[in-house]
């Protein structure tokens, strides 16, 4: 642990032999977010059994997502993929009539080279329901990046012109060309009454209550965004113009960001992610700076949040936390926990897109300097076996880990927290910082309680 004493971050790479969930698990939260969607996961029994067991949502979600289970005939190309998918999609259309069907490609569709992108447009034309293809396979992506693949392919479905202006313009040009000037004026006068929508689209799937909270924080700074990707309904996807600004709220959306820049010529605001009061503040400040707005009241807002956390802070101060690496939220959570006074010896992370996470990395470094703690060692593609050896040696107060290793670590007297809980808990924005600490301190509090009873360790 000597190398962590220098002030800049150290990045290392291991074998990539770690446990994490398959990227198709993004279906579990995306079908809830996009309410008029249908997700069709095209894969084998292995994929289906995973969704059913590990995510435990299949039966409750029955109507809005399903498996297209590939059988021996499909694998050996004896059956026509197009006809098969058409049969399933027609059935889905008759049963549910969704606004969009999302094909989730898996490792198997990659291996057998099923041409989903080629099939989708033809099928779309034939059955009359938009079909979006996302290749959320485990060969190229990890756990939360599944969301990235879906959002990246939703981009091309975002309209490039306002639906209403388009209509007005059409009408004007054909029937009353002379009125077009007038209507433009009318538009402007309308806009001046409300706050103007800034050309800013936020991307990342968050529950609706959270998107409202973040929007509200931005409105306090007189920033009214023009939309979110994804939206509650597929039909309301935001309009994206060339030159619009875009900003992500989740650390695992590098591909979406790249696609927005390349395909829609958007400008990416590289900000830290709005996780923890420090991150949320930095996120708002960065957005304000782009639009030349002087942020107001952020100091007080952040201070108020820190004050509200004061019951938790003594519990975590000076304690060490080790990230084994799972959901790509590691850097942001580690940065917030360091700011809370914790020490982070090592952050394992499946994959780090250094350009997309640039601002977050910078903020992590600054936070370490500010709190005068050693900067963590960052290990990409970690090797679980090696990590466990280091954990045994370092004996951290808390390990944030995937579920495969949690029970055995607890049995060895090491406190754990499941990383997947941070994927599903609401952790974004100012007021939810409390929830992160609630999660983090749960096992620490339990240990304190046990020590009060006179036991030092729970294990023999």
């Amino acid at each position: 642990m000597n190398q962590i004493n220098n002030s800049t971050l150290t990045f290392q790479c291991e074998t990539g032999n770690y446990h994490t969930f398959c990227p198709i698990s993004c279906v579990a939260w995306l079908y809830q977010k996009i309410e008029d969607s249908f997700f069709l996961v095209i894969g084998t029994k292995t994929c289906g059994y995973f969704l059913q067991n590990s995510m435990g949502v299949m039966i409750f979600a029955e109507p809005r997502y399903a498996m297209a289970e590939l059988e021996e005939g499909d694998i050996s190309a004896q059956i026509n993929d197009y006809e098969e998918l058409k049969r399933l999609c027609t059935q889905i259309k008759n049963d549910r009539n969704p606004s969009v069907i999302v094909f989730i490609g898996t490792c198997t569709t990659e291996i057998i080279k099923m041409d989903l992108e080629g099939i989708a447009p033809k099928l779309e034309a034939e059955i009359g329901i938009p079909i979006v293809v996302a290749r959320a396979n485990g060969l190229d992506y990890t756990f939360t990046q599944g969301e990235d693949t879906v959002l990246a392919s939703l981009i091309q479905r975002c309209p490039s012109k306002d639906r209403e202006t388009e209509k007005i313009n059409k009408n004007n040009s054909s029937l009353f060309p002379s009125l077009s000037i007038f209507s433009k004026n009318k538009n402007e006068s309308n806009l001046s009454q409300d706050k103007p929508n800034l050309p800013l689209v936020l991307f990342g799937s968050l529950p609706n209550s959270l998107t409202n909270q973040l929007e509200h924080e931005l409105e306090k700074q007189n920033i009214k965004i023009s939309g979110w990707l994804p939206t509650k309904n597929y039909k309301e996807l935001p309009v994206i113009h060339e030159g619009d600004y875009v900003c992500g709220v989740n650390p695992y959306l590098a591909r979406t960001a790249t696609n927005l820049i390349r395909r829609r010529k958007c400008k990416l605001i590289s900000a830290p992610f709005p996780i923890g009061p420090d991150g949320t503040r930095a996120w708002i400040e960065k957005i304000c700076s782009i639009f030349n707005i002087e942020p107001t009241g952020l100091d007080e807002r952040e201070k108020a949040v820190w004050d509200s956390l004061e019951n938790y802070l003594p519990l975590v101060k000076g304690k060490s936390v080790f990230f084994m690496g799972d959901n790509l939220l590691e850097l942001s959570i580690a940065r917030f926990l360091i700011r809370c006074g914790m020490i982070v010896p090592e952050i394992g992370i499946p994959y780090l897109h250094k350009r997309y996470q640039e601002a977050e990395i910078k903020l992590l470094e600054d936070t370490c300097r500010k709190m005068q703690v050693p900067t963590p060692l960052i290990i990409e593609k970690p090797d679980n076996y090696e990590e466990l050896k280091r954990i045994e040696q370092y004996r951290p107060d808390l390990v944030i880990t995937g579920m495969a290793n949690a029970n055995p670590l607890e049995a060895r007297g090491i406190n754990t927290k499941w990383s997947v809980e941070f994927t599903f808990a609401q952790i974004h924005g100012f007021s939810n910082a409390r929830d992160i600490l609630e999660l983090v301190t749960r096992s620490l509090r339990r240990k304190n309680y046990i020590q009060q009873l006179g036991w030092k360790e729970l294990v023999e």
Binding site: G16, N17, H19, T20, F21, C22, P23, I24, I42, G43, T44, K45, T46, G48, Y49, F50, Q52, S54, M58, I59, F60, E62, A66, M67, A68, E69, L70, E71, E72, D74, I75, I79, D81, E84, L85, L88, Q91, I92, T106, C107, T108, E110, I111, I112, N137, G138, L139, D140, T142, F143, Y385, L388, G402, M403, A404, N405, A406, N407, P408, A411
Partner: protein, 440 residues
């Protein structure tokens, strides 16, 4: 292609891994993409294991897809051989990686040249057989491997044990109430002074497999796991097997009678012990009450699940409790002939399907008073307001209770009765006046 919302059985590699991880000091290597390794999560979380799950993935990624695994699988096998020093390493692909058609047998042969451990490739077709069949197949493969291996060196023990002894075959991790069932069966064996020669595969090392022929008899409580092994042992050593799930009064009695007869233990003292035990069970108030009352108004039941549990329970409910079984069915298609033979005299209708919507439709059409099924039927019952007792896999965290809840043996009878009582009686309790005076 098949539109699927729910699977009653898992994919084949889950079966293979269940067997491999049940053995002591055996490590499994999965040749699979990232994310196919959720077996580790399932086992660790459901079994609440204190040790790391002995399964490692040799990750299939873009590079492997482009250039083949090359040394990767072999390196991973040799690495685990050094790190964990297992007796045996089992290599298995998954549905996904089996399409790559890499020569895994060749990897296994190369690796075994340099490894201390034995290395085996689990020989299953991932598109043709399911989890349960793969369990059966892998167990047989491992047993056969060690018997054949030691046959040459003549270390195989063929002499029978002095005292009556049995092999208990088919106990595996992630099995339905398997741990508690084993405890209960062990208690039974102790009671009748039968030596447990080998319990397979849970908790056994592969080194002890050479002792299998020493036992007088094989016991297979679950016919879905172990039939192939028992057939092999029968062919090689003439070992006989007793394939009965000792669940419920009648079946338990039958099981004990056959067991003692096969081991030539039948004598008056032991029969007396059995009778006293059974009498105690039959004297329990609720059984009497239930049996009498059920004659007044027969309740209708639908039973669905794994072939073994459903067949046994159908007979139990029909003969011992007197419920009318309006439909019973299983998702074990491979067992359909045996299943139909078993239940045809006890139920009005038989349904063999893997499609949960079919059973769901039947339930809503037939409107039974009670369902006994899997988690899926519980879910269907909840929607329709029909009580459901869970009596079969697929497994769920609820099937790994902290309290002692075996499904077999004397205690098992009580568990079943509790389940029955709770499912039937607690359905529409309106007030506490009826607390002790339920009408079944």
């Amino acid at each position: 292609m098949k539109l699927a919302y729910w699977m009653y059985t898992g994919p084949a590699h889950i079966g293979t891994l269940r067997i491999a991880s049940s053995f002591k000091n055996v490590h499994a290597i999965m040749h699979a993409p990232l994310g196919d390794d959720y077996f580790n999560v399932m086992r660790s979380m459901l079994e609440r294991e204190r040790n790391y799950t002995p399964v490692t993935t040799s990750v299939v990624d873009r590079n492997v897809l482009a250039r083949g695994s090359q040394e990767k699988v072999i390196d991973n096998i040799l690495r685990k051989d050094k790190e964990e020093q297992p007796d045996l390493i089992v290599l298995t692909p998954t549905c996904t990686s089996s399409i790559l058609q890499e020569d895994l047998q060749n990897f296994v042969e190369q690796a075994s040249l340099n490894s201390m451990a034995d290395v085996l490739l689990a020989d299953v077709n991932h598109y043709r057989i399911n989890e349960l069949q793969a369990c059966d197949k892998t167990l047989e493969q491992i047993v056969r491997f060690y018997i054949e291996k030691n046959r040459a060196s003549l270390t195989l023990e063929k002499v029978k044990t002095l005292l009556p002894s049995v092999n208990l075959i088919g106990i595996s991790s992630l099995g339905f109430h398997n741990n508690h069932d084993t405890r209960e069966l062990k208690k039974l064996f102790e009671l009748y002074e039968i030596i447990l020669n080998c319990s397979l595969p849970q908790g056994t090392t592969v080194k002890t497999l050479i002792n299998l022929p020493k036992a007088w008899l094989n016991i297979l409580p679950y016919r879905e796991l172990g039939l192939l092994t028992s057939k092999y042992l029968n062919k090689e050593f003439g070992l006989l097997s007793l394939v009965i799930l000792p669940m419920g009064n009648i079946n338990l009695n039958r099981f004990l009678k056959k067991l003692l007869f096969s081991l030539k233990l039948e004598n008056n003292t032991i029969t007396k012990v059995i009778n006293i035990k059974l009498l105690k069970l039959l004297n329990l108030n609720w059984i009497k009450k239930e049996a009498i009352k059920s004659k007044l108004k027969r309740k209708k039941a639908i039973i669905f699940g794994s072939s073994n549990h459903v067949a046994t329970l159908t007979k139990l409910l029909s003969k011992e409790i007197g419920l009318e079984i309006i439909l019973c069915g299983t998702y074990c298609k491979s067992e359909s002939k045996w299943f139909s033979e078993q239940v045809q005299n006890y139920c009005n209708k038989i349904l063999i399907t893997e499609d949960h919507t079919m059973i769901s439709n039947e339930i809503s059409k037939l409107k039974p008073d009670v369902i006994f099924g899997t988690q899926m039927e519980r879910h269907i019952g909840k929607r329709l307001g029909i009580p459901c007792g869970v009596i079969s896999s697929p497994i769920h965290i609820q099937n790994f209770p902290l309290s002692y809840k075996p499904m077999v043996g004397y205690e098992g009878v009580k568990t079943i009765m509790d389940l029955l009582f709770n499912s039937l009686n607690l359905k529409d309790r309106k007030n506490s006046f009826t607390l002790f005076n339920e009408i079944i």
